[in-house]
């Protein structure tokens, strides 16, 4: 049996089609309703409530907690203020990405690191010679994401006291929700206005109930991974094991990616003191990465034409896809898309892709492989800047 998350008691009764899936050894919902349309719409139109408890979470404390993180991640942690959250990748000695996640500075000597894969061993290896404690709080801490335009209003109703509305983008604060101690961070994986709430596992159900009760007038809707996947692609956010492979899992060099190659170069602070991979990354920055990570937009007209040739209207999957799709230019493969979707909001066919550096400029025309009635065709596509969708409300 897989594990249920601390919210299983609330999520299980909502599963209209029993569409469970695995996430880090837990069962989570692909979608609660029979189709995920409404769940996705809530992210962009009201507020979606997502159970993200399976995320790996590490509580890092002690005199050298900051030094440990600064040694591990590419971002300058020492420069972060208490209450600040930073999104960052971390690398092996060759500058290849192991994982990505957020670092929350909860105190002068206290941090939380989230990750997609387990990292205890890596953190431990990096702790050599440091006075630091690393606790895996993945099981004891539940997490809920409240994402969407009305999320601030909902939180305003349930968070005790005032001021949560003033919480800035990528900041974290301690709070109570109807007496339940939580940490609220203004972060998320949807590219929209939204928050993530961190709570002791035994209080998770009560927190869910409080949010649902207060959120109902604001259209709060439990949402599953299908909805999240659409939103994160629109937001241009990468996913480990889908868009890139961890350096700890790669079987061949071609499967490795540097931060520069997955659009995270901005989070690499080469000027800070030693961190793992620094030397290799400095060299890569000097010489320029050979691969880039970009958005790809497939031209609708081209799709329409290809389908029309066989007498069909374009048929596209309603859920995001996670397969490798070749990209061509001048009859040569110059890249591959790793995930994509039809954006219900933007009405465009989007993809996230690795392309050779020479083809990374926004607007570069490419051809993308599409399967039209069992036959492989190439549709016209264009490189696009990321994110595809970036509403003002996300950061204001």
């Amino acid at each position: 049996m897989l594990k249920g998350t601390p919210l299983f008691a609330r999520t299980a009764p909502l599963m209209e089609g029993q569409a469970w899936r695995r996430w880090a050894g837990y069962t989570v919902a692909s979608s609660y309703e029979l189709t995920h349309d409404r769940e996705y719409a809530a992210i962009r139109n009201a507020a979606a409530l997502l159970d993200i408890s399976p995320l790996y979470k590490y509580r890092i404390g002690g005199k050298d907690a900051g030094r440990l993180l600064d040694r591990v991640v590419t971002r300058n942690v020492a420069a972060m203020k208490v209450g600040q959250v930073g999104y960052t990748p971390w690398c092996d000695a060759h500058g290849k990405v192991i994982d990505d996640g957020t670092v929350s500075r909860l105190g002068e000597q206290l941090f939380r690191l989230t990750s997609a894969e387990p990292n205890m061993r890596w953190l431990h290896a990096n702790s050599a010679g440091l006075t630091v404690t690393v606790d895996d709080v993945s099981e004891t801490t539940a997490a809920l994401a409240l994402q969407g335009p009305t999320s601030r209003d909902i939180l305003g109703k349930v968070v005790d006291g005032t001021g949560i509305g003033a919480l800035k983008f990528f900041r974290v604060t301690d709070a109570t929700v109807r007496g339940i101690p939580v940490q609220v961070s203004r972060t998320g994986y949807t590219g929209d206005l939204g928050y993530e709430l961190w709570v002791d596992a035994p209080r998770a159900v009560a927190l869910w109930d409080a949010l649902v009760e207060a959120g109902t007038p604001y259209g709060i809707t439990p949402a599953g991974i299908y909805a999240l996947d659409l939103a994160r692609i629109e937001a241009g956010l990468i996913m480990l094991d889908v868009d890139y492979i961890s350096a700890h899992r790669a079987l061949i060099p071609a499967q490795l990616s540097s931060p520069f190659e997955i659009n995270l170069g901005w989070a690499v602070h080469l000027d800070k003191p030693f961190f793992v991979g620094q030397r290799a990354l400095a060299a890569e920055q000097r010489e320029g990465a050979t691969w880039r990570f970009v958005g790809i937009e497939t031209e609708w007209e081209s799709l329409e034409r290809l389908f029309a040739e066989v007498g069909l209207p374009p048929r596209l999957p309603t859920v995001a896809w996670r397969t490798s799709v070749p990209l061509y230019s001048d009859g040569r493969q110059v890249g591959y898309a790793t995930s994509g979707c039809w954006s219900p909001l933007l009405k465009r066919s989007l993809a996230l892709a690795h392309v050779e550096a020479a083809y990374a400029a926004p607007g570069t025309p490419l051809l993308i492989e599409v399967t039209v009635e069992h036959r492989r065709k190439q549709a016209a596509a264009r490189v696009s800047a990321l994110p595809f969708y970036n509403p003002e409300r996300k950061r204001t």
Binding site: K3, G25, P118, M120, R121, H124, D136, H248, R249, L251
Partner: protein, 536 residues
């Protein structure tokens, strides 16, 4: 007999390698005869109804490494090959707890997490490393060993290819391969894990069939074997042949017969006929002489060269090397017919663990002490054991409601101080039962029949020298171009026309069939193909 039929090749010994060899030769259109001493083919891979209604894989009991190309080339599933998954391993611990590993990654991870979160993570990384190492070793296993001292173009090319292969592993991976080849499994695992029972169980797989303990350098290499199956696309590498291991031999024999090979049982070979330095055939114990262009021996090197051949026919250097070649059988087997399944205190009742393997390896010290006993000529008072319940996987193995239990036991040294006697055999059997009963107290009352096989019994029945199940220890100095002897690792022998195809040649060990196949390819002049090059 006036006109005895003349064969292209006579294969001595109908073990799985001999059968594979015969099948490949027959497939190439050669007229082949297999001679098996016993009434059944299979050698150490046989199923027998030892007690009425209870069928046992008497010796070899699981299969993981049977080369997929052999399965495909000989179309073995059509001949009855059907390997059923054996997907868990449970190790009962002395404190009443247990450690289990499962086919499902999440399940195994969660179980390991219970013992050590750090080991749960290390397990994945370790698995990836082993994947890389298996990839690194695979081309070598499939290669006909070059002679490093030779200056022939073929050898030099093979050596160069080998050198390039190792170099291609790079500075990241080659040192790990080197460590695997030289370290003890205990030291190697210490670099990865902290959970003692996990290390004990993993290292136990590194000592099977060897006369090494988990702390003996050289034992790490065998850890790889668990991962070899996976990269060949055969998921759930460890499996159990329907009807018992004999089913594999029967399938290969059936394929060989269909391809035109003749297989004769109850036909023990007395000696290889040699005329002016060339093998011309064999003489059977009944006096019949059979002639062939080539004689292939599937027997171990000592039997082949020191018993079937007149020593005068062999160069001294070679004969010395064969005499030095080490067997040192170290394992025994206990087969039980049961009225009920053992009830393990750590996991009461009948459960999924009965469909997988039970490893009696509660601590590293336990396994090491089992070895300590054997070093000085005693059987382990508390041995390492690998247990399966074939009737839980294939109900046909026992009458309904009853069960068969297969216990692989280590260490039981062939050279027991004072020698093996009936009394010592039974004492050994008692020690085994006692050691299992510590973890499953109902075992003793559940036993209907028991068969105890010591290395001496294994030698007597199967002919395997010193009861070594791999036809010679899998030690570094007995591998690759040194297996069984330098210069003669390429299935040939100093006697023209006399070939070797048993597990005593590279790569050897387990039900792989690789030796039989590579020997056939070499005989057919297709050896270069195996080494990935055109020339030969």
């Amino acid at each position: 007999m006036a006109s005895a039929p003349r064969y292209d090749a006579i294969v001595i010994g109908g073990g799985h390698n001999g059968l594979v060899n015969a099948a490949y030769l027959a497939r190439a259109g050669r007229k082949v005869l297999v001679l098996e001493r016993r009434p059944v083919v299979g050698g150490a891979a046989v199923s027998e109804q030892v007690f009425p209604g209870f069928t046992f894989s008497v010796f070899s009991y699981v299969v993981s490494l049977l080369r997929p190309e052999i399965i495909r080339d000989l179309d073995l599933p059509r001949h009855g090959l059907q390997i059923l998954p054996l997907e868990s391993t449970v190790t009962p611990m002395e404190n009443g707890n247990y450690l289990s590993a499962w086919g499902d990654h999440d399940r195994t991870r969660r179980e390991l997490y219970r013992h050590s979160p750090r080991d749960a993570e290390a397990y994945d990384e370790f698995g990836r490393l082993m994947h890389h190492m298996a990839m690194a070793v695979r081309p070598i296993l499939g290669m006909i060993p070059p002679d490093p001292t030779s200056l022939s173009p073929r050898d030099l090319m093979s050596l160069l290819r080998l050198g390039r292969h190792f170099q291609s592993l790079g500075a990241d991976k080659f040192p790990w391969l080197y460590k695997l080849m030289t370290m003890s499994s205990a030291d190697f695992l210490d670099e990865w894990f902290e959970t003692d029972v996990l290390k004990a169980t993993k290292s136990a797989s590194g000592i099977i069939g060897t006369f090494l303990g988990p702390r003996s350098p050289g034992s790490a290499y065998v850890l790889l074997h668990h991962y070899m199956g996976e990269i060949d696309g055969a998921f759930r590498a460890w499996g159990f042949q329907k009807g018992g291991t004999g089913g594999i031999s029967d399938a290969i024999a059936s394929a060989a017969r269909e391809l035109g090979a003749e297989i004769r049982t109850d036909a023990p070979v007395a000696r290889v006929l040699v005329k002016s330095g060339r093998a011309t055939g064999v003489a059977l114990e009944n006096g019949d002489e059979l002639h062939a262009e080539a004689v292939v021996s599937g027997l171990d090197p000592r039997r082949t060269f020191l018993q079937l051949v007149d020593p005068g026919e062999l160069p001294t250097e070679f004969a010395d090397a064969i005499k030095r070649y080490k067997f040192r059988g170290s394992s025994g087997k206990v087969n039980l017919a049961l009225s009920e399944l053992p009830d393990f205190s750590c996991l009461p009742g009948v459960g999924a663990h009965h469909r997988g393997a039970i490893s009696i390896s509660p601590t590293m010290a336990y396994v090491e002490r089992a070895y300590d006993d054997a070093k000085y000529g005693a059987f382990s008072r508390q041995p390492y054991m690998d247990i399966i319940f074939p009737s839980m996987i294939d109900p046909g193995m026992a009458p309904p409601g009853r069960h068969v239990m297969s216990i692989f036991v280590q260490y039981a040294p062939y050279n027991l101080t004072g020698g093996w006697t009936d009394a010592r055999r039974e004492a050994f059997g008692d020690a085994v039962i006692d050691a299992v009963a510590r973890f499953a107290p109902n075992l003793k009352r559940a036993i209907l029949h028991r068969q105890v096989l010591t290395p001496a019994d294994i030698e007597r029945i199967t002919g395997l020298t010193e009861g070594n199940i791999f036809q010679g220890e899998l030690a570094l100095h007995q591998l690759f171009f040194l297996r069984p002897a330098h210069q003669w690792a390429r299935y040939r022998s100093p006697i023209k026309g006399l070939w070797q195809c048993g597990a005593g040649t590279h790569p050897g060990g387990g039900i792989m069939g690789a030796s039989g196949r590579l020997a056939a390819l070499e005989m057919l002049g297709m050896g270069g193909r195996a080494n990935g090059g055109g020339g030969r």
